[in-house]
Symmetry: C2
Amino acid sequence: MTRRVCVIGVGLTKFGEHWGKGFRELAIEAGIKAIEDAGISGKDIDAMYIGNMSGGRFIGQEHIASLIAGELGLNIPATRVEAACASGGLAVRQAYLAVLSGKHDVVLVGGVEKMTDVKTSEAALTLVGAADQEWEGYHGVTFPGLYALMARRHMYEYGTTREQLAMVAVKNHENATKNPIAQYPYPITIESVINSPPIAEPLNLLDCSPITDGAAAIVVCAEDVAKKFTDKLVHIAGSGHATDTLALHDRESLTEIKATKLAAKMAYEEAGIKPAEVDVAEVHDCFTIAEILAIEDLGFVEKGKGGEFVEDGETRLDGSIPINTSGGLKACGHPVGATGVKQIAEIVLQLRGEAGERQVKDARIGLTHNVGGSGATAVVHILERDW
Amino acid sequence: MTRRVCVIGVGLTKFGEHWGKGFRELAIEAGIKAIEDAGISGKDIDAMYIGNMSGGRFIGQEHIASLIAGELGLNIPATRVEAACASGGLAVRQAYLAVLSGKHDVVLVGGVEKMTDVKTSEAALTLVGAADQEWEGYHGVTFPGLYALMARRHMYEYGTTREQLAMVAVKNHENATKNPIAQYPYPITIESVINSPPIAEPLNLLDCSPITDGAAAIVVCAEDVAKKFTDKLVHIAGSGHATDTLALHDRESLTEIKATKLAAKMAYEEAGIKPAEVDVAEVHDCFTIAEILAIEDLGFVEKGKGGEFVEDGETRLDGSIPINTSGGLKACGHPVGATGVKQIAEIVLQLRGEAGERQVKDARIGLTHNVGGSGATAVVHILERDW
């Protein structure tokens, strides 16, 4: 009885420092590319969701969704969704629910962030708004600091090594060299990560995702309507969303993200699949430790074995479960509100066999995992092609 | 086949300047009141939507929905929705869609804004984020300025008088005297409005809604589940949402809000009713002219006749269509993200016959109308009791 939901188009801008393009130009560029990719026209779209973390502080602009709808010349329902760095993934989930509701058929989802119009120090302060401002931010804790606490504890409990953390960044930079939109498409080495400037011990500069401008868009569509536009359908087979306390110190564990586990359970059950069936995944590697937590919490490897799994090459393009083929947040870039939508776009390209040099052979089922803050939001999607 | 959706609980904080309560205390207070009013417990809730315009700039806090879910001890999907001053109404609509999707049954919707932790001048700058920052804000246009343009044109085209504008404020203050949560529960006169300090000609201080702290919450529930908790169901009979260009100068008309007309059409059609069937309405009176535009665009009175309609007393508590029984944004207060949720709460109280001294006799169908910016977002809901 429930209608099925598909992704029929994707569009991406280059990720990086866009001195020549503003917020609205980036959003429109990605949106129009997704519309063209879907083979639809603007008037086919009946609703829009936009993921954006902090337009208010980055560019002085709220009311983002109406801005973008207006620029596209549409009077449709348009909604901005915010859950810090998980804003994009959550916008996709809202579009999915909107199509399931039966009230909308063709929904454009955009994610966009323009982060370089403010000083880096101001951007860092803005990002602390994703943590608990009263209990964490005002006392000087930064995001590298919060993830450093998690990294240290993981190293202590499970013997994860400094080199294993670095290998995450090395692998993601390697993937980024094959991705034309990546912010940092160049290889790095374990040594260069370990010798890069310290940020919050044990994390160095090259363990951290960068500050990025960029936008991503997808077209989400009811299956019955999608068949008018394409024969090759990529389904949203499962969608999960969970939350946890905003402050890290209120959680039971420093070495797992409970919201990821809950969101993943919801998505796996809805899709009727097990983690081992996933062929390719984009996970939230805001810091190198975050990717290790993610692959454990998503069930790709036992808790505590993530570091070894990376060291064994299992997450590389030619490994058993290629992770972050796009280059991830680390090397493709992390325009916070756009990241979750970009993850879906990357997986759609993989499932369609359109990922070029970074193509995972015969990918049929893909997963995306988008985290807000230090784990207070997690959104997981499972995509599956039907051919 | 489509499930019906109800509102089974409402909760409101006092609106005003809360020096002794912070953002999270306000949100939790309203949420717990709504949960208690619905006769449910926290564990019955399976999702949450929060309307908030600018936590990032007012209190340095984004990631609002996870914050509130965490404070309530829940790990449920929680989503912040933003559409400037229409954030609250839009959060209600997303909850409605989420229940219609079949993925959620009992959804807590909150609206909250803490505006007085920054200086008034800073609050005003933050609110300009609801307009087009590049084309309006940076050039010095303020919201009173934008609505003053609309007021002047309405006076020119339709002969609306200065006194008629003032009568909107006088009527709303009169209603506020009967509302225990109102920020300004005292009567004013036409003379006091006209003699109050000029803000943007023809609008004076008492034509403008204030800066307010406050929160509102409702519990939205699938009808089949709601019957476990109550026999008296208030249905969401219709929901409409539309957008328009963010900048006022890009629109075809200064004297109508096209987004209101489109959203109202959607809601009326869904509910299967005509404007004349509405017994009571909460409309978006951020400035006195806005209420006149609203009652025209919602179809309660012909375009251009809104001023006369107010002068004739038709919108008073004892008139043909009582408008803003709560006191409206003008006198009940306007904590921007909370306003749209408060409107729904007020209508639910009216339909239940629990509105005390401001009760509209035999109210059976109510309407809410929430606007973002100068009209780039409009959200309309129609509520109906089934007894």
